[in-house]
């Protein structure tokens, strides 16, 4: 069977239209499927989630360990055992290096020697979301700085931008290095950036972040925009500091280091 030029163009045109219509239909059904999700009515709500870490209440090494373990185990954070490939969502650092701009030589010994818990600050003006070329990291309306592991291209611009060293990159396949995989939370593939997510997946189900729960009152979590919230009252009564406030990022993690 020979096909002349005219017929070829006709069939080619029809095929293109067919593919176009089919594609459009697929798109519409998929869009419908996505919009089909409705938020749960038992999730926690806030205008601006924030955290208070009362370091005075952390006394033993065990207190820190419990908190870190709670986070890293449910979020499938791998343990590579070397600082080069290290991935961490919440960790400890000494006072001097946690607050390099607030160090003086005459800090009380118990403060100087006390480890500080560090995690993503979920900044109001987050430099990481500003620089991301694909919106893989973005601000949620509730103030959480979220990370989409499936959109991230692994350019690591966010890691250069973060003034708090809060972000980790999957330099290698993390899966073999996860002790017990939690099937409730995604594991990551090599080549993407990750960090603390303020436990969005728990907030949606009405639970506070895992670290806050494990801290047994040493850490508070609540709505910074609500003057009546527990953490706002706590901040009214206690003097708090934040990391590198001079950068204008407005961190949402507050530290109470001393006083009554």
């Amino acid at each position: 069977m020979s096909v002349n030029r005219r017929e070829f163009l006709k069939y080619a045109g029809l095929t293109c239209i067919g593919i176009g219509v089919g594609g459009a239909q697929l798109f519409v059904t998929r869009a419908k499927a996505f919009s089909g999700y409705t938020p749960t009515n038992y999730g926690l709500k806030a205008k601006r989630w924030a955290m208070v870490i009362d370091l005075r209440k952390f006394e033993h090494e065990e207190d820190y360990k419990k908190v870190i373990e709670a986070c890293h185990s449910i979020h499938n954070v791998p343990d590579f055992g070397n600082p080069k490939d290290e991935i961490k969502w919440i960790w400890t650092e000494d006072f001097e290096h946690s607050f390099p701009y607030q160090m003086n030589h005459y800090v009380p010994k118990e403060v100087e020697e006390k480890p500080v818990l560090l995690l993503c600050n979920h900044c109001e003006h987050a430099p990481c979301t500003r620089v991301c070329p694909t919106k893989a990291t973005f601000k949620r309306p509730d103030g959480i700085t979220a990370q989409d592991y499936h959109r991230c291209i692994g350019c690591r611009f966010c890691m250069a931008a973060c003034p708090y060293g809060a972000r980790s990159f999957n330099w290698r396949d993390p899966r073999p290095y996860i002790k017990h995989i939690n099937p409730e939370f995604p594991t990551r593939m090599p080549g993407v950036v990750e960090k603390c997510n303020f436990c969005v997946e728990r907030i949606e189900t009405g639970k506070k972040p895992a670290c806050v729960e494990a801290s047994e009152g040493k850490m508070l979590f609540g709505d910074l925009a609500d003057p009546e919230s527990e953490i706002r009252r706590y901040l009214d009564e206690h003097f708090s500091i934040r990391r590198k406030p001079h950068l204008g990022t407005q961190p949402a993690v507050f530290y109470i280091i001393g006083g009554e």
Partner: protein, 385 residues
């Protein structure tokens, strides 16, 4: 016109095959990186950009430098550049090709590269960098190819090329300005947080790129029948001289602000680069080498007899290029990450696979350059006969 790239002597094909071999080695090592992840490089949680991004930054400068030939020729009607402008434009094509490849090999998830277009994000400087770099690549291919073809046919270039040439001038400035903005707008990286970054980038670009052009022009003169000419080379040498001095001046400005203000965050990266911190001093010898080579090169370039003597000029250009490469192709990026945001020192050094991939990308760039220069030189040789 491209067929001229297929008609070469034994030396030409040897060069092509050597470059192909190096590019192949880089490609296979890249496949290994693709399989294992970027963990095979020296990069870490603390120094999250390394050799690839450094080379990208440096080569953007080489690309932008084409404008140093375009401005005198097209804006000031400096006729002596008429034969060599094409060398600048094709060098730009080759350099931008390498820039794009370096960005590509640095990505953790390269299959998702089109997310940058699928989810355009104007507040990200990388988005703009992708636009200006691709635009500049296209501009130089179109301009270079059309003007060369016109030369071959001994007719003036088509009229529509002129506006593109004028556009390419601010565009060249834009590629290096936008690249500087990648660094200069980040809070918390004090080493990069400096308003003079873009100006310094341009100064070092206008020194390094033209220095490379002089080296290439002398190679061309030696191995082909096309002589770029003594006078154009001397004119480019003056450009290198001014830009080298400007760049060195800008570095001194950086040092003044950091040291006189006495702000630790601004001093520490310089301290790390030039003296080391707590015994961490992997970059110290390189950084001092860069400074000494820069001073030596400036001395040779500023003193007229050594600038006019082509042997010393060539030497000055080589050491200037090495000095600028160390400064921008290594120290600039690493200095931004050391010390880290906790003011702790975690050092970086490239690994062997990382170096092979880097050499592979350079080989691809020089392959593009060789082919394009072969075409350009063949046209010039034909004009002579």
């Amino acid at each position: 016109m491209l067929e001229k790239a297929l008609q070469g002597g034994k030396r030409y094909w040897t060069l092509i095959f050597i470059l192909l071999g190096l590019a192949g080695a880089g490609f296979f090592t890249y496949l290994y990186q693709l399989k294992e992840g970027l963990g095979i490089t020296g990069m870490s949680r603390d120094v999250s950009w390394g050799f690839y991004v450094s080379q990208f930054t440096f080569l953007v400068g080489v690309a932008a430098s084409a404008v140093m030939l375009v401005i005198p020729y097209y804006l000031h009607n400096y006729k002596k550049f008429s034969k060599i402008v094409i060398l600048g434009e094709f060098l730009a094509v080759s350099a931008v090709t390498m820039c794009l490849l370096f960005i590509f090999v640095d990505m953790g998830q390269p299959m998702r590269i089109f997310n940058v277009i699928l989810h355009p994000t104007p507040n990200s400087i990388l988005f703009w960098d992708a636009i200006v770099l691709n635009g500049y690549l296209l501009l130089n291919i179109i301009i270079g190819w059309n003007t060369l073809q016109a030369d071959l046919k001994e007719v003036p270039p088509p009229k529509w090329v002129k506006p593109l040439i004028y556009l390419s001038i601010p565009w060249a400035v834009s590629i290096h300005t936008v690249t500087a903005f990648i660094y200069a707008g980040l809070p918390g990286r004090d080493f990069w947080l400096t308003a003079i970054m873009a100006a310094r980038f341009l100064a070092s670009a206008f020194a390094g790129g033209p220095a490379l052009l002089i080296i290439l022009a002398m190679i061309i003169r030696k191995y082909t029948k096309f002589d770029p000419g003594r006078e154009p080379i001397q004119a480019v040498a003056k450009i290198v001289t001014y830009a080298m001095v400007a760049n060195f001046f800008f570095i001194l400005l950086e040092l003044f602000t950091a040291l006189y203000s006495n702000i630790p965050g601004h001093i520490l990266p310089f301290k790390y680069l030039f003296f080391g911190i707590d015994g961490h001093m992997k970059l110290v010898p390189l950084m001092w080498l860069s400074i000494f080579l820069a001073i030596f090169a400036i001395a040779l370039l500023v003193w007229p007899p050594t600038r006019r003597n082509e042997t010393t000029l060539l030497f000055a250009c080589i050491i200037a290029f090495i000095s600028l490469w160390i400064d921008k192709g290594f120290g600039l990026v690493i200095g931004g990450f050391v010390p880290n945001p906790f003011e702790r020192v975690f050092e970086y050094w490239p690994t062997l696979p990382e170096l092979i991939i880097t050499i592979g990308v350079y080989a691809v760039g020089f392959l593009v350059l060789t082919v394009l220069y072969k075409v350009a030189i063949s046209v010039r040789e034909q004009q002579l006969s």
